[in-house]
Amino acid sequence: MIHKVLVANRGEIALRVIRACHELGLKTVAVHSQADAEALHVRFADESVCIGPPPATASYLNIAALISAAEITGADAVHPGYGFLAENAEFAEVCERCGLTFVGPQAEMMRLMGDKVRARRTMSEAGVPVLPGSGVVDTEQEIGAAAALIGYPLIIKAVAGGGGRGMKIVDGPGSLLRSWSTARGEAKAAFGNPSVYLERYVERPRHIEIQVIADGQGHVAHLGDRECSIQRRHQKLLEEAPSVALTTAAREALGRIATDAVRAIGYTSAGTLEFLMDTRDGRCYFMEMNTRIQVEHPVTEMVTGIDLMQEQLRIAGGSALSLSQADVQIRGHAIECRINAEDPRSHAPSPGRITALHLPGGFGVRVDSALYSGYTVPPHYDSLIAKLVVHAPTRREAIARMQRVLSEFVVEGICTNRDLFQRILAFEDFAAGRLDTAFLERMERAAASAAEEPSR
């Protein structure tokens, strides 16, 4: 059992955790940096502790301050949210050593999935399809032999990477060695570990992921899929559930592969298996596993009616999964738009004071946000300020609902990417379900050529 949860995060996800806790009758402790003293998660938690100055390294990433905050408030559990320390195995271990329940998977699972070569091998052994690839390639001989086996184009990835960082695409043998040494240099600089491996490169894939949840007592379920193909520089912008690219049978098959693998490795808590889908043949290949609750979890909650956050908290408290696979039914369609405080053209962050705010509402609408009128978006952290989520019986109706929601979303004083979503939803490829990771480029090209047309 857990009674008081320290939320080691900020913004909308901290609020999301606090809401789930209060509905479960759990007490909450918010932590905050000096820049977040006026933040909503601080206001809505039962208690709050200032843990450091604005820079995240000194506050939200400061393990000693977080543990001390738990000690002085008598918290018995820690929820890390996403980002910050959510996938930091050391933090999970320190929590457990200090007698705090870490709401998330076991530390060794984070270590396993943080090592992309081990993760690939482990998942492959557990029956999950992976792309042809190599182990760690440390010498020129190794890379030549591995590349010959895999074929071109191929992609060089950092073993310690993930999240789309530290990757190099190689079109042919001519640029292989150069790309390899550049990739090693970048991996060393970004992750402190130069190790890289090779994988066959899939051009313009769809990004599809399976949500799983396991209680560590033998109960495992998947909660269907999410499609997250619409990205800019590997940053997801719009997610939906379910994907139009999967038939019911294909979804069930992928879900079964995911649950079998999760059971085989003994994973506990909520997690996500990310897959690349080759749009030419519809085959899915394991990419990585995220060992945390994700930003886009609400779309899954909307179509399944299952509160993932509460389920994750209950499991951490020692309860068995409250549902079985048969209870999971996908109903209707859900879409999420990530509203960022950013300049719509340069995509540079746009911090500042919110002078006026209207959050949309109405039937089938959910807004996860920690904004309020008069709030100042600090410049120190991520630019995500609101998640607009809609649910409707069909995809077509969900699109219409999201268009209505976007038109009602008003925020003044800062810039946001709201209009980008209007354009995405209005683009014919979106309605047709022709999604892949090059969707945005295609849309911008179409817009550019349409703008030229009248002058001809």
Binding site: N9, R10, G11, Q34, A35, A37, E38, V49, C50, I51, G52, P53, P54, P55, A56, T57, A58, S59, A64, A65, I67, S68, A69, E71, I72, T73, Y82, G83, A86, C98, G162, G163, G164, K188, A189, A190, F191, G192, C228, Q231, H234, Q235, K236, E274, M287, E288, N290, Q294, V295, E296, R338, P351, G352, R353, T376, P378, P379, H380, D382, L384
Partner: protein, 177 residues
Amino acid sequence: MAAKEPPRAMAGARRAKPRGDASDKPSDAYGMNEIRRLAKLLDRYDLSELEVEHLGQRIRLRRERPAGGASNVALVPTTPPLATPQTAGTAPRPEPDGTTLITSPFVGTFYRAPTPEGTPFVEAGQTARKGQVLCIVEAMKLMNEIEADTDCRILDVLVKNGDPVEFGQPLFKITLA
């Protein structure tokens, strides 16, 4: 490919805010020359971040330092107003009434004496020398001694022995001696 998840670590915690020395060129308010000059300062003193405010304009230079990697200088123009409290943890905080507050540099538990039965390090009304231990803040079973930054007179002890304190919480009210 993971989601856009909140912030990766920002640059190091060290920060410097030169007050006087940025204002020696009032006419050249943040042209390229000024930025170059600030970038050199950043480099020369090996700072992670530099923020200067002058005539209502503010500029912040920050460099991200990946583990062990080369550093690069990022220019981040910030638009006022950014209502961020800028009090540093231990730096004595001057108050409008001429007194100064000593604030806690850690989250933890406040102790006035070295042992449970011991005499307090300081009492209100006493003077303290620079470097003298004023109290202990326990964080993660570590006893962190908090010292006076400067010679001072203790006017008030603001926290009870054994009470929890948060980062930046005032512990003592002092006047500078």
